[in-house]
């Protein structure tokens, strides 16, 4: 019988297997349970059409953008253009836009938690976005049907006032050719958060910040631009010959020759260091939504000419619009900016509102350097872009015209910030294949900022 006692260990081993498996299940439950629950077939949270069963999305002023009506159907705000303008921040009813509030903030909207379950989810919460829906509509209209992205945020509080991505569509009348028509390519992406693009000349601000700190006699130097220059085994070209210029003039002229030479003088390692410090290669968490990371190649098997082009935002450079906007905010704010947020508050019936905290970035740029760049960016506006286009604004900006292949028009960029005390806004505008940065993107920025100040 003692032998049996010994052999009965097998029974314990099996019981151990069950306990072990149960622990594995619990770990998986803890790690992925929220994802399991947020399946469109989960009738506790989604209706039979796969739409979120409850929760209202409102803009910062309490305008309802998307809610569930008495018949249990999910409906959007009136106005076709308005619906297109808010689509990417609010999300589509079927969860295709992963960064939309309906998907990204489904837990906040329904009140679902892993430990509390979906109990009471049918009541739903009021989710106030930081977005100003009117401003979004203005921005969407300003893009005028072109692909692109517009974002404006308060660099002191982090509140994103405007976030538009185009192409968009009307969630009330979803086009049949949405998935096939090339005009809708990447329509489910919020370009502000989830895409990266060649930055072109807006990246010169990073090269400039490195040069200001690493080259002591930068401010005393002058350069002569003849329209192109031999750097390494190739040339770097400008749109025209800019002639004799200081660094400030070179930035206002957006002179590739000067910044290409500076990039080579600084070297790949330094450029990489400043790009990383600027936060352009990191992912921000915008109310929990991760932004896309920018990618750059400054080191390795690249020629001097490649390095020169990468220093002016070409070559393999690729930047996320939101990260660029945060960098603008950091320049404006003395080196550190607030991390953007999209959620103003979540109003649960019967519960007090939870306070939302502002989170700051790390130091993206040294304070003195930020001050110097600010002045030069202000000079850009007076010298090149024209103050008349931006009435009542203490604007600092940099345009970009990013070449994206000989057969396509360049991407137009316009990024910067206001120094107005009552409107501490940083912004970024991208018009894909839009043409000239200061003309096309600058015009969009002008319209949006005017509306933002009203």
């Amino acid at each position: 019988m003692k032998k049996l006692e010994r052999r009965a260990v097998l029974c314990l081993v099996l019981a151990g297997c069950l306990v072990f498996g149960l622990l594995v299940f619990l770990v998986r439950f803890g790690l992925s349970g929220t994802r399991w629950a947020s399946s469109a077939f989960n009738r506790h949270l989604y209706n039979s059409q796969g739409m979120l069963i409850s929760g209202t999305v409102l803009d910062r002023y309490g305008t309802p953008l998307c809610w569930v009506n008495e018949d249990g159907e999910r409906v959007y705000i009136d106005g076709k253009t308005m619906r297109k303008a808010i689509l990417h921040v609010v999300g589509d009813p079927y969860g295709n836009i992963g960064t939309g509030a309906l998907t990204a903030f489904a837990k906040e909207l329904t009140g679902y938690t892993l430990l509390g379950g979906a109990y009471g989810a049918e009541r739903g919460n009021q989710l106030y976005l930081t977005i100003d829906a009117q401003l979004n509509e203005v921005a969407y209209q300003a893009l005028n049907g072109k692909k692109g992205a517009v974002a404006v945020y308060n660099y002191q509080t982090g509140e994103v006032l405007c976030m538009v991505s185009s192409p968009s569509y009307d969630p009330r009348n979803i086009p049949d050719d949405l998935e096939t028509n090339p005009d809708y390519e990447g329509v489910y992406l919020n370009r502000c958060l989830s895409s990266t693009f060649t930055p072109g000349s807006v990246f010169k601000l990073v090269t400039l910040s490195a040069a200001l700190e690493q080259i002591p006699d930068l401010m005393e130097r002058t350069w002569k631009c003849e329209g192109s220059a031999q750097i390494g085994d190739g040339t770097v070209t400008c749109t025209s010959a800019h002639g004799e210029q200081t660094i400030e003039q070179a930035l206002a002229n957006s002179c590739n020759v000067v910044f290409g030479q500076l990039a080579v003088e600084l070297g790949g390692a330094t450029l990489e260091e400043y790009t990383q410090k600027a936060g352009l290669t990191k992912s921000y968490s915008v109310s929990g939504i991760p932004t896309a990371k920018g990618t750059f190649t400054f080191q390795g098997s690249l020629t001097e000419n490649d390095l020169a082009w990468s220093g002016v935002g070409q070559y393999h450079d690729s930047v996320n619009p939101c990260a660029l906007m945060v960098y603008m905010g950091a320049i404006a704010n003395g080196g550190k900016a607030a991390v953007p947020t999209l959620v103003q508050k979540v109003d649960t019936p019967g519960w007090p509102d939870l306070p939302q905290f502002t989170k700051k970035t790390g130091r993206l740029i040294a304070q003195d350097t930020a001050k110097e760049i600010t002045d030069m960016m202000a000079n850009n506006v007076t010298q090149t872009y024209g103050t008349k286009r931006f009435p009542g604004m203490d604007l600092c900006a940099k345009s970009g015209t990013a070449e994206v292949g000989s057969d396509q028009k360049p991407h137009a960029w316009f990024a910067g910030f206001l120094r107005n005390e009552d409107a501490p806004y940083a912004f970024v505008v991208l018009v894909e294949n839009g043409g000239s940065g200061s003309d096309v993107a600058g015009t969009v920025a002008s319209k949006v900022l005017k509306a933002a100040l009203d």
Partner: protein, 584 residues
């Protein structure tokens, strides 16, 4: 009775009509009460079962020539030099397994020589084969002379006192909490259901059944109720799941619990007499094979496996009950522990059963049978090498089938990545996981789920339903209850009387555990979904009856003082004192 309840419902409806918020409060509050009650019910039962019984039984003693004595704690004892001998005589003249000292069913003792070198003698006469041993006889084992004596009065009293200390915990508190659980659940279902259904009444009916059982058994002198408490708790969950998924089947499920209870009693009382067990083993083996082969011939297919027999309104899954006969035959075919019998016949029985199950495409049950085979075979032979070989062979055979008939395993194709096949082969698993994650710790409340609309939700996916409607805490407790039964089976071997109940208990415990593994991990995509039931919890009459039947084997090994109706006291037949004096 029904009138009173109709009246009550009417009043309740009026009350709720006047104060609609009460219903909301009730649901919100009661969600947290259920897990609390479950904890109160189970912690006591689990604690009771996991207390190691230290003071085993004593049946007599062997007095050594130089003074001192060795107690006889079992009905089957091996005398020898081996470290694992029950009565160890560490002398060079004693063989490793020298002789066996066995208590027959009626209380007579016998000694058997196990082919020892030095030989065995009773009162000086050499034993060839076996010889009876009376109290007071001298037993000569390889040069050692032992005197077979009963326990002294003093020792017996001391032991009795110790055993009283280790008596099973009283289960009254757990029962009261369980009754409260059942009543609250019934009220919750009444409030939840829109239509006029009587299905929730099965819960208070189960309370009545439960109390009748306990009072009758208590009256008959039984004291250990931990296992039954666990089984009644799990059966309550089963009824709750059934009310939610198939209200029409709730009464049937209650009847299954009652039948299961009666089956357990019958099987247990049958096993009280060890002499019956040996006689019946062939019949049991034949029953197991018969049930499976009959199913093979006239079985109907439901949910992918053709393991159902449908007779008019009754549908029945014989493979569930076949498990019990299989364990019975397997555990009983080892006549005596010390007989080096080969496993041939048992392997043939297993082979036939597995073949039948494979032909029915019931791979889940085949897995359970195979795991049970391994447990029984290992307990009987201790031959780890051979069993590893057999397992390897089985795995190889499985791979061969996979090679030649891959379509058979297509059902299992999505194993491990159910989410990538969420609309095809991973449909059930993904639904179960999603619903499970919606319940949180305390669940959505009975009847407030959607998983029950998915096929086989109350059987194969029942763990998902438990998580969804009753919460993670209760679902995990249900699994831990099964673990407890197996751990108890393994530990109680230390004080087991003889081979059959010990092996049968371990086999039953292991079977319950393996079945739970396949059910829970199948539904949660940690193992292929094979369509086996969660013991006691899944909706299904055959499965419920079989689960209660298995409990009889576990009760059969419970030798704690007056705890099990299956284990007799046998005090009257113990060797009486004074035998030695008479001889002298």
């Amino acid at each position: 009775m029904l009138e009173t309840i109709t009246q009550f419902r009417l009043h309740l409806a009026q009350l709720l009509g006047a104060h609609p918020q009460i219903e909301g409060w009730f649901f919100t509050l009661v969600r947290f009460v259920f897990p609390l009650l479950a904890l109160l019910i189970l912690i006591r039962a689990i604690r009771g079962l996991l207390r190691v019984p230290r003071a085993g039984e004593r049946w007599g003693q062997l007095a050594l020539p130089g003074g001192g004595s060795i107690p006889i704690t079992r009905w089957e004892n091996i005398l020898g030099r081996a470290p694992l001998a029950d009565i160890r005589l560490d002398l060079p003249t004693v063989s490793r397994q020298h002789a066996a000292l066995i208590r027959e069913g009626k209380g007579q003792w016998r000694v058997e020589d196990l082919g020892s070198k030095g030989g065995t003698k009773v009162n000086g006469k050499p034993v060839s084969g076996s010889a009876p041993l009376q109290v007071g006889d001298t037993l000569w084992v390889g040069g050692v002379e032992l005197l077979f004596l009963p326990l002294s009065q003093e020792e017996e009293e001391h032991l009795a006192a110790r055993r009283r200390m280790e008596q099973p915990l009283p289960m009254w508190p757990s029962l009261i909490w369980l009754t409260l659980f059942q009543l609250l659940a019934a009220v919750q279902f009444f409030l939840k259901s829109e239509e006029e259904g009587w299905a929730p009444l099965v819960l208070p009916a189960l309370s009545v059944v439960m109390w009748i059982y306990f009072l009758v058994m208590r009256g008959a002198g039984a004291r250990g109720f931990e296992m039954e408490t666990i089984a009644f708790f799990l059966s309550t969950l089963s009824l709750a799941v059934t009310i939610s998924s198939a209200p029409g089947a709730a009464v049937k499920q209650l009847i299954a619990v009652v039948l299961g209870l009666l089956f357990m009693l019958a099987l247990g009382i049958f096993m009280r007499d060890p002499s019956r067990i040996q006689k019946m083993r062939w019949l049991m083996a034949a029953m197991a094979v018969g049930l499976l082969s009959v199913t093979l011939v006239i079985g109907k297919t439901k949910f992918g496996a053709s393991n159902w027999i449908i007779l008019g309104p009754l549908s029945f899954q014989p493979s569930e009950v076949a498990k019990i006969f299989y364990i019975f035959a397997g555990a009983a075919s080892l006549e005596r522990l010390f007989h080096k019998r080969n496993l041939g016949l048992f392997m043939v029985l297993t082979g036939v059963c597995l073949l039948c199950l494979a032909l029915m495409s019931d791979f889940g049950t085949a897995c359970i049978f195979f795991a049970t085979f391994l447990v029984i075979a290992y307990l009987r032979s201790g031959d780890f090498a051979t069993l590893s070989l057999i397992t390897g062979g089985a795995a190889f055979a499985g791979l061969l089938v996979l090679q030649f008939k891959p379509y058979i395993f297509q059902r299992f194709a999505s194993w491990g990545h159910a989410w990538e096949a969420a609309s095809t082969t991973g449909y059930q698993q993904t639904r179960a996981m999603s619903a499970a994650a919606s319940g949180g710790l305390v669940g959505m409340g009975g009847g407030n789920g959607w998983l029950h609309r998915i096929g086989a939700a109350d059987t194969d996916l029942v763990f998902g339903m438990l998580c969804e409607e009753w919460g993670l805490i209760i679902a995990v407790l249900a699994v831990l209850s099964i673990v407890t039964l197996a751990v108890f089976a393994a530990r109680v071997c230390g004080v087991g009387r003889s081979a059959f109940p010990t092996i049968a208990a371990c086999a039953a415990g292991s079977l319950l555990v393996v079945q739970t593994c396949l059910n829970v991990f199948g539904a949660m995509d940690l193992l292929p979904l094979t369509g086996v039931t969660f013991p006691f919890v899944s909706n299904g009459g055959s499965a419920m009856i079989a689960s209660w039947g298995l409990l009889a084997f576990l009760k059969g090994a419970d030798t704690r003082e007056r705890s099990s109706f299956v284990v007799g006291k046998d005090r009257a037949e113990k060797p009486k004192g004074g035998g030695a004096d008479e001889k002298a």
